[in-house]
């Protein structure tokens, strides 16, 4: 199972500001191991989705060009305090994880 994620959602006016930190090595598959000289196999998050109260707000495709331990910030208009945000990801090896937060 993948490492835990961190997520925080706060209201700023009528917009919910969501910040997510995912733990992931994000290997591009192009980097060589310094010791063995072998290419490190690609291992990165390919899909990230977010929902607010079950309704999809974000559907992202990622590549290995995103930094290690990806950070993602996005804003959603409409939700209220107490609404639930769920962010989930899947990587190219079939691993997945999700985290949820209550908008505060």
């Amino acid at each position: 199972m993948a490492e835990p994620m961190r997520i925080r959602a706060t209201m700023a006016g009528d917009v919910a500001d969501v910040k997510v930190l995912m733990n992931h090595p994000m290997e591009t598959g192009l980097r060589k191991d310094a010791k063995t000289g072998q290419l490190v196999p690609a291992h990165y998050i390919t899909d990230v989705t977010a929902t607010v109260n079950g309704a999809k707000v974000l559907d992202a495709g990622l590549s290995g060009g995103i930094s290690k331990n990806p950070y993602l910030g996005f804003r959603v208009k409409g939700p209220k305090k107490g609404d639930k945000v769920v962010v989930s990801w899947a990587d190219n090896k079939g691993d997945k994880n999700s985290a949820e937060a209550i908008i505060g």
Binding site: V57, I66, S67, V76
Partner: protein
């Protein structure tokens, strides 16, 4: 995304690729027409990446703001913030033009999501960071140069 639909309609070859991807379980059927195809992420240059996204000739727009450092000392972590002031923004894609595979990420926005994305990307070398915004079936773009200094003293 309309642009993608156009792409799929282009020919049997394109449609076949999507069908294969769906069959292989790479794409969930519901995603197949809502997302940029994975092939766009493997494109080796900006032109092919844009073509893969179905955004061959995006129009320059002043309503897109890219916030990124002028000089990034560490190319492995370059904070990038894209804000689109274009009404009806439905997707924001980020490209680092000189990366081995320029398309870094594509964010589909819906259900009240604002035209704003903040993330951190990798850059192999100094190049333009390009944002491509899709709104109302049209593509808009803006770019900002980020200098990458690997090692050294931040000069």
């Amino acid at each position: 995304m309309n642009a993608l639909r156009r792409n799929v309609l282009k020919g049997a070859a394109g449609a076949g690729t999507v069908a294969v991807a769906v069959a292989a379980g790479l794409l969930k059927p519901t995603q197949a027409l809502a997302d940029v195809p994975r092939s766009a992420f493997e494109a080796k240059n900006v032109g092919d990446a844009l073509k893969g996204m179905g955004a061959t000739a995006p129009a320059d727009s002043k309503d897109i703001t890219i916030k990124a450092p002028d000089i990034a000392e560490n190319g492995a972590v370059v904070p990038v913030e894209v804000t689109s002031g274009i009404a009806g923004t439905s997707a924001i894609a980020i490209l680092a033009e000189k990366n081995a595979t320029p398309l870094v990420a594509d964010f589909g926005l819906m259900g009240g999501a604002e035209g704003y994305i903040s993330t951190r990307i990798k850059m192999g070398q100094t190049s333009l960071v390009r944002a491509v915004v899709t709104a109302g079936g049209k593509s808009y773009t803006a770019a900002k140069e980020v200098k990458v200094t690997i090692g050294g003293c931040g000069g």
